[in-house]
């Protein structure tokens, strides 16, 4: 059995678009195979065909040497295939152990669940994988998002799947957890299993993968050993542009202080946070997942309460108890959790662009529909949002275009201070650089940007200064001239620089 997956000539069309065109993909035992390409290149479609979620229009697919015709997710599972998708698909109200066994709990006979055995087996595997800080008896929803993701990653290992697909597994992880993930993947590879690895973070591909397949516009571009290529070449193959200039944006001279924060505290999340952000500046906030950076942003925006501390906007002290006040004062907020916090998925692009704009365009509560359409058109054009019309539900757009709609939403509501929490999460390389260009334009117009990112190349490339947070504590503010990867990581890990 030389090939775990052999897919040849796979094609798939959706109404109006050719998602995959004659794509070949081969996965061998003991191989970590990266699948890269922009959003819209066809990665997700290919994975969904391999996993039996979509039916292919043409092409042959054989799993472990057996040709499959009518494939389904159940059949894929029976073949030992498992996929870990970006959005964690586990039962949140069950325990870690129950999620591991889901429907196949060990029993003592008479059909009675053997809880001790279940938790013992689960705990043993978690320990082996270096996840001993996860209690098998803990309810999943009580764990942090990163820990939940680790559970999702460990589950197929537990089920002894031998073809594993990881779709953007590190999007929610901090660097230590990423290390654990990598050690899990190495262990699986050494056991002769096959792993498909999808990530937008190229350095991960060079850290962990053996071979890489590049897709572009639904076509297979090239498959090669990772050792034969480099990040620049990969980016060129994906988008036809080099990575060098991606983070190079024109910097604007900073203006007056737009936002000043002093002694901001909300125990036990964060304490004594103080900084100021100038108009036209990109101010970075760096910290591990769970360090409190998101909570600080939410507090400034009025989404969470503040215990003490002072916030000044253009010199005036403010205290927001509801996001509507922050929006009225010119603060915009892009959440890290786009689907649950930033956009109304079933509603149109038009409505979503106007989401925070309605008070301004609704005299006496009656929506000025001309202004509504005007705003939608303006930002679809200005931000080059790819959508057939402004009446399309936003869930039909790609992640990058959804994020541009979120930017449009904040611009439509005339934000002068833009809080961006992981603005490029789940966004492809092309859309990323477009978002950076928009940032560049905004700072020229004097908008102050607060950028939260756990992705070092991004925050170091874009920010003028970086505030580092560790467990709710302010570890220091680093000037651009002193940016240094190691130093930032040390600070974010609670060590002195």
């Amino acid at each position: 059995m030389a090939e775990l997956i052999a897919a040849r000539g796979i094609s798939k069309a959706f109404p109006g678009v050719r998602a995959l065109d004659q794509v070949d993909f081969v996965l061998r035992p003991g191989e970590v195979h990266a699948l890269v390409g922009e959003n819209g290149a066809g990665k997700s479609t290919l994975i969904k065909i391999l996993m039996g979620v979509y039916r292919r229009d043409a092409g042959t697919l054989s799993i472990k040497g057996r040709d499959v015709h009518d494939f389904s997710p159940q059949a894929a599972q029976a073949c030992g295939m498992a996929a870990v998708y970006q959005d964690i698909s586990l039962a949140r109200s069950l325990t870690v152990g129950e999620n591991f066994f889901l429907g196949h709990m060990p029993t003592t006979g008479w059909g009675i669940v053997d809880w001790a055995k279940a938790y013992e087996q689960c705990g043993r595997l978690l320990g082996e994988l270096g996840l001993d800080d996860i209690d098998p008896r803990a309810t999943l929803s009580s764990l942090s998002v990163a820990k939940q993701e680790m559970v999702a990653i460990a589950k197929p290992v537990f089920e002894n799947a031998d073809i594993l697909v990881f779709d953007e597994p590190t999007a929610l992880l901090a660097s230590e957890e990423t290390e654990i993930l990598f050690s899990i993947i190495r262990r699986l590879r050494d056991e002769g299993k096959g792993i498909v690895y999808i990530s937008h973070r190229l350095e991960e591909i060079f850290a962990i993968c053996d071979s890489v397949t590049v897709l572009k516009d639904g076509r297979h571009v090239r498959t090669m050993p990772v050792s034969d290529t480099n990040p620049d070449e990969l980016v060129r193959l994906m988008v036809g542009r080099s990575m060098e200039d991606m983070y190079t944006i024109r910097r604007s001279p900073p203006g007056e202080v737009a936002l000043k924060v002093e002694g901001l505290t909300r125990e036990p999340r964060f304490r004594d946070i103080g900084f100021d952000v100038h108009h036209g500046e990109i101010f970075g906030l760096f910290g591990l997942v769970g360090s409190g950076r998101t909570e600080i942003m939410r507090a400034i925006f009025g989404a969470d309460p503040v215990e003490r501390g002072e916030i000044r906007l253009d010199g005036r002290p403010v205290r927001f108890t509801h996001p509507s006040q922050a929006i009225a004062a010119g603060i915009g907020f892009m959440s890290e959790d786009r689907k649950n916090q930033s956009i109304a998925l079933p509603l149109s692009v038009r409505t979503n662009i106007n989401l925070a704009n309605y008070p301004a365009i609704s005299p006496f509560g009656v929506v000025n529909r001309t202004a509504e359409r005007e705003a939608a058109r303006t930002y679809i054009d200005r931000l080059a949002i790819k959508t057939p019309s402004d009446a399309v539900a936003i869930r039909n757009l790609s992640g990058g275009n959804q994020q541009k709609v979120v930017l449009g939403k904040n611009l439509a509501s005339k934000s002068r201070i833009l809080v961006c929490d992981e603005p490029t999460i789940g966004v492809d390389v092309g859309a990323k650089s477009e978002i950076y260009k928009i940032f560049e334009k905004l700072t020229e117009e004097g908008v102050a940007i607060l950028l939260v990112s756990s992705y070092l190349p991004e925050i170091m490339g874009l920010a003028d200064r970086i505030l580092v947070i560790y467990e709710g504590r302010q570890m220091g503010i680093v000037e651009r001239s002193a940016f240094d990867e190691e130093r930032l990581v040390r600070l974010a890990s609670g060590l002195q620089a």
């Binding site: 959706f14 109006g16 989404a303 509507s324 959440s335 916090q341 509560g365 929506v367 057939p388 509501s413």
Partner: protein
């Protein structure tokens, strides 16, 4: 997925507040087919007397459905509307019996109705009780209050002019139907042309998104449940006018008819979907089947089976279409 934005927008819920043209056209076709079929098979059905009776019967459920629609758009549900129908009928009748002018008693009753809805809003927003349970509790409380207030007896001998509200015609059209249609226009205006309507749809897709977009949930939740109860109270007043008395057991299971009308009309209990025209057509279809079935001498229990099946088929087809759109 490659350029999925170029695929066709999913039917129905794509544009905010926009009727799902596909669903509405289908519903309208069903209404036409029903009317033609019943006119051909029953001599009584097409008579002006029966048609105006049909419109009156439909108006009660139709009015409640319009209020229910707004609640369902916010991903909520209001089980208390049937009980509100009863309490509105009784409270108003008691006031009339005590000699209060109907020009005073009706507005007061409407205020009481709206207050019950605000009470629901408080339970849901402040106490965080899920809408299903909160309005179930209110339903039970209000039903009890109705029995206490009325002594479980009907309140009869109401002034003649009160009875004329529901029985009257304007240009040969039943006044109840005209009131319903006026409310339909109000609801279309609210949902499609006001900030409030936008807020309902946004809240229905995600409360957190709504809050972070600057929408104040409290006032919107009070308003939507207040409106639903207000509509139900109006329906209760019209029902008691039609019967010329306050009936303590009025409105039992009306909430279910209203929910059915909304979902047949393309509403989704997951929120952010539904239209006023859909709810109106849904109500008409249900009542036409009941009315026509009676005229054709179909067993009323069998009719119940048919209407139940209709609900399942309508929602099932919608789900099937959505799934197929997703699977590609």
């Amino acid at each position: 997925m490659a350029n999925i934005m170029e695929t066709k927008p999913r039917q129905g819920i794509a544009v905010l507040g926009k009727y799902n043209i596909g669903t509405s056209a289908t519903l309208l076709a069903i209404v036409v087919v029903l009317f033609v079929f019943l006119s051909l098979t029953s001599a009584v059905f097409p008579t002006p007397g029966n048609l105006s009776n049909l419109l009156r019967q439909t108006s009660i459920n139709g009015i409640i459905a319009l209020g229910m629609l707004m609640v369902i758009i916010t991903a909520g549900i209001d089980l208390s509307v049937g009980a509100v129908v009863a309490i509105a009928g009784i409270v108003n009748a008691l006031m009339l019996q005590a000699g209060v002018s109907m020009w005073v008693s009706i507005p007061l009753t409407l205020v009481i109705g709206a207050a019950i809805g605000v009470f629901n809003g408080i339970l849901i927003h402040e106490v965080s009780i899920t809408p299903f349970i909160a309005t179930l509790g209110t339903l039970t409380i209000v039903r009890g209050l109705v029995m206490i207030m009325s002594g479980a007896r009907m309140v009869a001998n109401l002034p003649k002019e009160f009875g004329q509200i529901a029985s009257g015609d304007i240009f040969g059209i039943p006044s109840m139907f005209i009131i319903w249609m006026a409310l339909f226009l109000v609801t279309v205006f609210l949902l499609n042309y006001t900030q409030l309507g936008r807020n309902f749809f946004i809240i229905g897709s995600s409360k957190e998104v709504a809050r972070l977009s600057g929408i104040r949930l409290r006032i919107n939740m009070y308003t939507v449940y207040g409106l639903s109860s207000l509509y139900a109270a109006l329906a209760g007043i019209l029902l008691s006018s039609r019967l010329s008395m306050g009936v303590p057991t009025a409105g039992i299971s009306y909430e279910l008819d209203a929910i059915a009308a909304v979902v047949i009309g393309g509403g989704s209990l997951f929120g952010a979907a539904g239209s006023a025209i859909g709810a109106v057509l849904g109500a008409i279809i249900m009542q036409t089947i009941r009315n026509g079935g009676n005229l054709l001498g179909i067993d009323p229990f069998a009719l119940q089976v048919i209407i139940g099946a209709l609900i399942l088929i309508a929602v099932g087809i919608d789900q099937f279409r959505m799934r197929r759109a997703e699977k590609g």
